[in-house]
């Protein structure tokens, strides 16, 4: 079993829809949770960063962490074609500079 599980999709939604992405993990020591966005043939860029449990909102993006369920989510409201990308979840434990990544979910937003 992988340490971080993420459904690779692909996910296709119409413009304006809410995109819901999630990851589950098995390591209870994970404290830091990130979402990266990767456009085709580019490197991943950091989208959201959350410490421990709770919600974080940044514009159209909301990240949620539920440590009791070992489950993290990313929501994209009012999705745009420019949101079409692969979204990777990543996480790490305290004092561990290595990240554990999900496989990435490919999202297409149709105009």
């Amino acid at each position: 079993q992988k340490e971080v599980e993420q459904d690779p999709g692909p996910l296709s939604v119409p413009e304006g829809a809410i995109v819901s992405l999630n990851c589950t993990y098995s390591n209870s020591a994970f404290q830091y949770f990130m979402w990266y966005r990767q456009y085709s043939r580019k490197g991943p860029e950091l989208l959201m960063y959350t410490y421990s449990s709770g919600n974080k909102e940044d514009g159209r993006f909301t990240a949620q962490v539920d440590k009791s369920s070992k489950y993290i989510s990313l929501f994209i409201r009012d999705s745009q074609p420019s949101d079409s990308a692969t979204y990777l979840c990543a996480m790490s434990a305290q004092n561990d500079y290595k990240l554990s990544f999900g496989a990435g979910t490919t999202v297409t937003v149709r105009a």
Partner: protein
């Protein structure tokens, strides 16, 4: 803004060639990482370095070596390239301490013929 640059965006090499991939970061980060990314397999850590001249093996170090002579530069070396090393190679850097986000370069697409 953090900037991580990689020497080449696309590279074509022949089997058996020695290949050097260079990565430079401008944020004075202690930690640097090399990953490869393959469809269906996600990001896999090859090597990382937490200080100059220091390195540690990641999950898939076989067939690779690294060099870090200066803080800002981290090189990945394929001693004798093989076709199964055809992949997207990504470099990243981060500050020391746990939970620090990693900043990625644009990637190098390597094709080994």
């Amino acid at each position: 803004d953090v900037k991580v640059t990689q020497s080449s965006r696309y590279l074509v090499k022949r089997t058996g060639e020695k290949v050097f991939l260079e990565c430079v970061q401008d944020m004075d980060h202690e930690n640097m990482f090399w990953y490869r990314q393959d469809p269906g397999l996600g990001l896999r850590l090859i090597y990382f370095s937490y200080d100059v001249k220091m390195k540690e093996k990641g999950d898939i170090p076989e067939g690779y070596s690294v060099s870090r002579e200066k803080k800002e530069r981290f090189s990945l070396i394929l001693e004798s390239a093989s076709t199964n090393q055809t992949s997207m190679y990504l470099c990243a850097s981060s500050s020391p301490g746990g939970g620090e986000t990693q900043y990625f370069g644009p990637g190098t697409r390597l094709l080994v013929l």
